[in-house]
């Protein structure tokens, strides 16, 4: 679009909603909570992404001494083979973050599809809700064990586990939003205008269901990170020697007296991640409520 175009042209179909919605979500990151949470996450994300650049030696580079106490060069000390625990923690972030950043958005998309399927056919919607009930009936650990047994331990099994157990939250929220949105007058108005069902869905219903889902996504990220840790600790997730927050804890606990930082390091990372996502969820929630009030 040229700059001197005084009447910008917006065909309704091409770029649905967004600008107002996105602005509101971005506004969340301008609050103190959003800034701290977002900043924290950004730092960790960059560290994880750039780990091979920052620490070119990789996770297995050994120093002379094992079990060194924390120092400036080795902030979390070294482990039983003299490897830097901090470097291993940063590399572990790659696993945690890649898992949740892939699995949770997928779960959200699938959950929305399943949740909104009720609009296409009542029966399909009901079936999806019952599937969610079944998933919720399984403890996540048991679910993880089943999946590992089926496809073998590793990144993929963890991703699927996280995806499956965060699915019901999204599905139920989406369905709840669908049920309230469906009877709104602007949805009826679109119906009366003859707007095709698919467009009513994508233009009117879907954008207005996003608020609670985004908050939930942020919370599901935390749950996913902890699920990885839990499954890896008991040996069902990532397998040593690959460092993940879970495997680090798994080994670290054995040396808790010789090197307390071996356990404390991964826990600090877990807490920082949880803090970041929690702050973001809080900020998003506040922004969404604020927008609703005005």
């Amino acid at each position: 679009m040229s700059a001197n175009d005084t009447h910008p042209h917006h065909p309704a179909g091409r770029r649905p909603r967004i600008s107002a919605g996105t602005a509101r979500y971005l506004g969340a990151f301008r609050t103190p909570r959003g800034m701290i949470g977002g900043g924290l996450l950004l730092v960790m994300l960059l560290a994880a992404l750039l780990a091979p650049v920052i620490f070119p030696g990789g996770v297995d580079m050994q120093t002379r001494e094992n079990f060194q106490p924390p120092s400036l060069i080795h902030p979390f000390g070294t482990d039983e083979y003299g490897r830097d625990i901090f470097v291993r923690c940063i590399y572990a972030l790659r696993i945690s973050l890649s898992l949740v950043l892939v699995a949770v958005p997928l779960a959200m998309a699938l959950g929305i599809l399943m949740g909104l399927s009720g609009a296409v056919s009542r029966r399909l919607g009901e079936v999806c809700q019952r599937i969610f009930d079944i998933i919720l009936g399984f403890p996540s650990l048991v679910l993880g064990i089943c999946i590992v047994v089926a496809i073998g331990a590793g990144w993929l099994a963890l991703a699927i586990t996280i995806l499956v157990f965060s699915l019901p939250q999204f599905g139920r929220l989406a369905r709840g939003a669908l049920l309230t949105e469906q009877t709104r007058e602007y949805v009826l108005a679109a119906q009366v205008l003859g707007v095709p069902k698919r467009k009513v869905m994508t233009r009117h219903i879907l954008p207005n269901t996003l608020d609670p889902l985004l908050v939930q996504a942020s919370l599901s990220m935390i749950a996913g990170i902890f699920a990885e840790a839990a499954l890896s600790i008991v040996g069902l997730g990532i397998q040593p020697p690959t460092p993940s927050l879970g495997t680090l804890l798994n080994v670290g606990i054995r040396y808790v007296y010789a090197q307390p930082m071996y356990t404390a390091g991964p826990i600090i990372m877990l807490l920082l991640l949880a803090l970041a996502f929690n702050l973001i969820a809080d900020a998003l929630n506040a922004a969404v409520l604020n927008a609703k009030r005005t």
């Binding site: 007058e185 003859g194 009117h204 207005n208």
Partner: protein, 685 residues
Amino acid sequence: MADDILLSVRDLSVEFGSAQQPLRVLHDVSFDVARGRILGIVGESGSGKSMTAKSVMGMLPEGGRVTGGDISLAGRSLVGLPERELRRLRGHDLAMVFQDPQAALNPVKTVGWQIEEALTVHGMSARDARARALELLRQVGIPDPESRIDEYPHQFSGGMRQRVVIAIALANSAPLIIADEPTTALDVTIQAQVLRLLVELRARLGVTVIMITHDMGVVAELCDDVIVMYGGRVVERGAVADIFDAPQHPYTRALLRSMPQIGGDRLSRLPAIPGATPDLSHLPPGCAFHPRCALAEEVCRRTVPALSPIPERPQSEAACHVAQREGRLPPEPAERGEVDAAAGRSFGRAPILQLEDLRVDFGSRRRLLRREPPFYAVDGVSLEVFPGETVGLVGESGCGKTTVSRAVVGVNPLSGGRILVDGRDVTAFDDAAAAHVRKTVQYVFQDPYASLNPRLTIRQILSEALEQRGLPAAEREAECQRLMEMVGLDRGYLGRYPRAFSGGQRQRIGIARALAVEPRVLICDEPVSALDVSIQAQVINILADLRDRLGLALLFIAHDLAVVRHLSDRVAVMYLGRIVEEGPAEEIYARPRHPYTAALMSSTPRPRPDPGAMGRKTVLGGDPPDPRNPPSGCRFRTRCPIGPLVHPERRICIETDPALAGDGRHRAACHFSGEAARLAEETKT
């Protein structure tokens, strides 16, 4: 006189927000209430009327504080009293009746318990409280109080619940009762019952009432004195008769003139007040009304006028520079409004919209194990709308008027009858029929806040509709601008989101959206009932203009008889899923043939003070029956003022369902339709 003053409010100012950036919602509000009088506080949303009441009760919302002035009740100052003292006063010396009787009663406690609670907290013994509660229920006209005292709020109808709330307010014989829009949530016939009750209680118990309302009609019928509020200030104060006879503030006068009338001449255009009600956080400087005032001068834009007596009419006080200088309020510069241009309009021959024996069933949804019996929200409605004609569909909530209209556009499925749009049977509502309906019939919704998607700009909202019309993308922008101009909005607003608009503007956007597909019939479902009085006239005028310019047929659904009368050529009155009377508008209003129509008209408050009017009104008793289980014979017989309730010998009403019958175009479903007109006559004189 001075010791007759029960409540005196002097220069009351209330602020919200931080001390650095206070938001002042009340500015130097002063008024007195004399013992045994009813004071009306009128104003639109944001005028500060509810805030005034809450300040008196000491119940300002979180963050609000009185920053100046005084409130004294029987000589005792209420400002700055500790919470404990205030709590003792509330319920005992001043009581409150809330707007929504549903929300004002606790659903898990019996009504008796709730009345007794009001008594026992002020020190009455449980046994005395029970006896007093029974007496109170009897006083507020609840039949059979001995058995109903132990029932729960959900077992009471809306009107009965409001009576219970009034009983609670009366419990401790508080000398002052503050009623905050007590009838706004109620239907007209129920509103009439509650208003009559208030008048009776005043006569019997001598209570003093502050009545907060937006409805000038209610003020005229009920109140002795009135203060008019605008933008957090009192703009006019005086006796009801004086203010309605010769308002001295331009706002009061414009408000009265802009209301459609149920009696008198039908104007072709309502003299609407331009602009919107001001936002308290952005009050205009000087007189808050000046941007909308035809008389505004330089001084109005700069200085806030004080409330003071008008030299030539010392009995009323108004805050207007012009009136104070001239000695009285000069007449409007431009006098407009020809009488009844609607009379000359002509309509097409073949109906554009035809409903035949329409039935909509809400009940027979299949449950898990059983089938619910059918429940017809609409039970055999036939109606025709001709091109260019406006048909008003009137009735109280739950009568099925919205259901009828939504069935036409395919939102509610039919269980019987036929719908013809422009001669074509669309009952099946398959794809072809749906497309035909959507091109021909469009819908304007009631709630302007819910009917626009908050995430789309106005341009996107209108473009979506234009896309349905099949307009190529390149031409949509120009058409969007044309639509905006058509409804009187600036084309520069196209890029904004709905939240940037006021209720009246949003409703115009809703109208523009409906018109985007160039329909020939517009169904308007209560399009002005959610709007402030001063905005209603604007929207009504736009609808009338567009109808005349585009030759639209209008199916206008409303509960407000005055609005319907103003716009309609023909009127159909619905009761409990059926049309009970139908005919040319002027004839129906002049000579109703169904007692329900007569009662509706008589119940509608008129903005013209008439001391004896309350006594002559035909006030219907009881409530509309449950549509799941309609009465045998005539559905209206359980409330009918000329039916078997009054004339037990009229068995025919119980045994036979009356059909719509009558000469020519004016038909009514009543066995004794000749008597309804007399009923209406009695009320008028």
